[in-house]
């Protein structure tokens, strides 16, 4: 039926030269340009909003820390950036090939499936990481004045810590890597997306709750007044260097009619040193209301020890977190390549 014939057979070699890497660039772009464009568009739009907010803040001439609630709400929204990128960009990369069966086509071409996986994942990972880092820069610029030097909100707190350029890039990269592994392991797009959201959230919560505080040895102070932006890990009571229970402290305080609701409660009271030292020392318990409880406790040898991370550790912590997230992401993507090689049709 066809008059067309194939041209003469070209030479076939025992170990052919590999197909150049750059040939995959067009393919990866062509197949994932919508996802990449979507990420850039959304992050770009939010960046414009952040830029305007930052400009207004600077023209205002003073910084209102009262914007805390607004800051928290928008920050929580921004926390969703990495997992959404992981779910919508990372998870489908391999899952869609497996779900539609096109891997049988793609993986039997001359390029080779391991190289195909690397050539697909690497540029996309780089693209989403750069996009996230750029967004993080805008965030740091825009919200920085409200975060750095804020007396109530620590820059190390989970609210905003992972939104700066280093950590946002790291968390986005790891979300993408989780997505790629979930895609090849689960082989279905939608379940892989859900798995990515769950796995990323679990990792983020565990990091914020347990891991981050151990990046550097914390500082301990017996001052009731903590430096601005300190990230409190724990507070406990001690009497003459020995730990005492809260009830013991309460018993002492009941003599002057005050109570301790919880550790840290006294930290919010006016500094102990601001009271007249002579007055409180000469008259230990003249009556309720006239004595500073903190001063009273000090007089009884009771101190509050606060373990905390100072705000100045923001950037060291940023790089520590970014570093291990990068290492974890590379491991995960290597695992994805390994799973692709192991995947039996």
């Amino acid at each position: 039926m066809t008059a067309l014939t194939l041209p003469a057979q070209p030479g076939h070699e025992a170990s052919p030269r590999p197909v150049p890497w750059r040939r995959m660039a067009w393919i990866t772009w062509r197949q994932h340009r919508l996802a990449v464009a979507g990420v850039v568009a959304v992050l770009g739009a939010v960046s414009v909003y952040l830029y305007i907010t930052g400009e207004q803040l600077r023209h205002q001439g003073f910084i209102s820390y009262g914007a805390g609630p607004v800051l928290s709400i928008t920050a929580v929204l921004f926390q969703a950036i990495p997992p959404l990128i992981g779910a919508f960009v990372g998870a489908p990369v391999l899952a869609r090939e497996l779900e539609t069966g096109t891997f049988r086509f793609t993986w039997t071409q001359g390029f080779g499936r391991a190289r195909w996986t690397v050539a697909t994942l690497a540029p996309l990972a780089l693209a989403v990481t750069i996009a996230a880092a750029a967004f993080g820069l805008v965030f740091s610029w825009s919200y920085g004045p409200q975060i750095i030097g804020n007396p109530v909100l620590s820059p190390l707190a989970a609210t905003t810590f992972d939104l700066h350029e280093v950590t946002l890039a790291g968390w986005t990269l790891v979300a993408f890597a989780i997505g790629s592994v979930a895609g090849i392991a689960i082989r279905r797009v939608v379940p892989a997306m859900f798995a990515t959201l769950v796995a990323w959230s679990g990792l983020a919560v565990l990091t914020g709750a347990f891991l981050r505080r151990h990046y550097q040895a914390p500082l301990v102070t017996s001052n009731f007044t903590l430096p601005d932006g300190a990230w409190i890990e724990s507070q406990r009571w001690a009497q003459d260097g020995h730990p005492v229970s809260l009830s013991a402290v309460d018993q002492v305080l009941q003599k002057i009619g005050a109570t301790v609701a919880a550790p840290g409660h006294l930290g919010q009271l006016p500094a102990a040193g601001s009271q007249s030292a002579a007055g409180s020392q000469s008259a230990p318990a003249p009556g309720p209301g006239s004595v500073n409880p903190a001063q009273y406790l000090l007089h009884h040898g009771i101190t509050q020890l606060t373990t905390y991370q100072p705000a100045s550790r923001l950037w060291p912590f940023q790089w520590i977190e970014g570093g291990w997230l990068l290492a974890l992401s590379l491991l995960l993507m290597a695992a994805a390549v390994w799973l692709v090689l192991r995947r039996a049709a």
Binding site: H12, T102, T108
Partner: protein, 302 residues
């Protein structure tokens, strides 16, 4: 050179063996047909040969000793999987470009001319093509790579008779003009007689019969005679399958050549490929008899 060679090849998925103790050697320069019922292990064998799966047991090599999935094997083998999976959201032109970028060689001119001849528009999305057009596009992409071996998994399953004819004509042309070896799997027996000159019969995960079609046809015949005598001959002859119709018995037997005497009162007829294949498929145990499988095995080991 053997385009596909397997020794004791086995593949297990979970606790089920999809392929077991498969030993065969398909020489080059043939259109080899893998025939067998669903679940016989045809797709598994092809997946192992193109490197999509790795063996659980035994060995498999392609193109004269190359490891499946190695760069040389990927370079020399073009595979069209069942239902010709293609990226549905890419246009035909993009699909051509994609295939060209994924391979060392791709004859864009040939591919475009062939698609033009088939009336497949380059701007159409692959997912919007008909089943026959998708199969033809996949075949065009495969042939455009100028492979040494073309592997087709159930290429005719989704095609209407006309598309089947066109599809096989293309494959045959490639085979005849360019020496491309073809291995295809199918459970459509009627088409095979015209195209296949090498037959591999599979059932229940192992190879039952393998050999050149001409040899197989020459070494089998149908004996027709009185049903009452059938039992007596069945003991002396290598009967693959016996069929009784009224007083007549039809025995499909393996012979050692045409010199075998025909019993008095019996008639001998040559078999068709379809009859031969059906006879073996109806008797999955027939492979255990001495015959083509054994003979093939001795050929494999030099």
């Amino acid at each position: 050179m053997n385009v596909i060679e397997a020794a004791g090849l086995g593949k297990r998925y979970g606790s089920t063996w999809a392929l077991r103790e498969c030993t065969l050697a398909i020489p080059d320069g043939h259109v080899a047909a893998l025939v067998g019922p669903n679940g016989a292990g045809k797709t598994t064998l092809l997946n192992l040969a193109v490197g999509l799966a790795t063996p659980t047991a035994g060995t498999v090599s392609v193109l004269g000793g190359t490891r499946p999935g190695s760069p040389a094997a990927l370079d020399g083998i073009a595979f069209v999987a069942q239902d010709a999976p293609l990226h549905a959201n890419l246009s035909v032109a993009d699909t051509l470009h994609l295939t060209r970028n994924l391979n060392r060689r791709f004859d864009q001119g040939y591919a475009r001319a062939r698609l033009d001849e088939l009336g497949i528009p380059l701007t159409r999305k692959a997912g919007k093509l008909s089943g026959g057009q998708q199969a033809q596009l996949a075949l065009t992409l495969a042939l455009g790579r100028r492979p040494r071996l073309l592997v087709l998994d159930e290429p005719m399953a989704s095609l209407d008779p006309l598309a089947r004819h066109d599809f096989m004509a293309t494959a045959m042309t490639a085979m005849a003009d360019d020496g491309v070896s073809v291995v295809l799997s199918s459970h459509v027996l009627t088409e095979l007689e015209r195209v296949a000159d090498y037959l591999v019969l599979m059932s229940r995960g192992s190879v039952q019969v393998a050999g050149e079609v001409d040899d197989l046809l020459a070494s089998h015949r149908v004996l027709t005679g009185p049903a009452a005598e059938a039992g007596r001959y069945a003991e002396r002859l290598a009967v693959v399958h016996a069929r009784r119709g009224g007083a007549q018995a039809h025995l499909l037997v393996r012979t050692n050549g045409s010199t075998d005497p025909v019993p008095p009162g019996w008639e001998a007829h040559p078999v068709s490929l379809e009859e031969l294949a059906l006879a073996y498929l109806r008797e999955p145990g027939a492979a255990s008899l001495p015959g083509p499988v054994r003979a093939e095995r001795t050929e494999v080991s030099p």
